[in-house]
């Protein structure tokens, strides 16, 4: 699946997107965040505060408890500040 990062999440991760293939035990967005954090110090620091992270699965806003099975595109980003 394709993973996208926006705003300071993108800056702290040091990349705007990447292709990933998480193992089957990664069920929810929160699981995905934990799996990403375990991959390295950059990821661990960038995604440390889950209360400041929001997500979209296939371009629909979801809670961090949402399942990711079958998703083509997942985005992680801070709370939105448009308008």
């Amino acid at each position: 699946m394709e993973l996208l990062y926006f705003a300071w999440v993108r800056e702290r991760m040091g990349r705007a997107s990447e292709r990933i293939a998480p193992p089957p035990e990664v069920v929810t967005v929160a699981d995905l965040i934990a799996w990403l954090r375990a991959r390295g110090a950059v990821e661990d620091a960038a995604l440390a505060d889950a209360s400041r992270l929001r997500a979209a699965v296939d371009q629909v806003f979801v809670g961090l408890d949402a399942p990711i099975a079958g998703a083509r595109e997942i985005a992680l980003f801070p709370p939105v500040t448009g308008g």
């Binding site: 705003a7 300071w8 371009q59 806003f61 985005a75 801070p78 939105v80 500040t81 448009g82 308008g83």
Partner: protein, 145 residues
């Protein structure tokens, strides 16, 4: 008629209003948001989520059109870099009467702030900073539920 735009160039409010007024409505209401000239902000960079942003704004416009039986809705949000005093967002509603047009405008801007994937980055003399989301925006959006 629903019109959603994400321009990188300045928003032409006069042209947008003229288009809405040509549609035979009895009332056209609009809201224009500007880049504030405060806190030493020299420029504002607007990042968004291409594809998802368009879909979110379209969904918002369609919801407003259905809820207030609008004749037309326009939502324009600028993206990219802009300067203090420039227009960042414009929402407008055309209806048969004023109450629907005015309420729909308030709904559109309140919900846009929480439902569309935009992020503001302010540039100041000391460097750049990402704008933090405000709890008051969440409260304003929730009053329409």
């Amino acid at each position: 008629m629903i019109r959603v735009l994400l321009p990188t160039a300045p928003i032409d409010v006069a042209a947008e209003l003229a288009a809405l007024e040509a549609g035979g409505a009895g009332a056209v209401a609009s809201f224009t948001g500007l880049v504030r000239r405060d806190d030493g902000v020299e420029a504002l960079e607007l990042e968004h989520y291409p594809g998802a942003t368009d879909a979110a704004l379209l969904k918002l416009a369609e919801a407003a059109a259905a809820r207030w039986s609008l004749l037309a809705v326009t939502v324009v949000h600028r993206v990219g870099r802009m300067l203090p005093g420039e227009r960042i967002v414009f929402v407008a509603a055309a209806a048969r009467h004023r109450a629907a047009a005015l309420e729909a405008c308030a709904y559109l801007i309140d919900r846009l702030k929480t439902d569309a994937p935009f992020w503001k980055r302010e540039e100041t003399a000391e460097g750049a900073r990402w704008v933090e989301a405000r709890a008051t925006d969440d409260h304003a959006a929730r009053r329409w539920e």
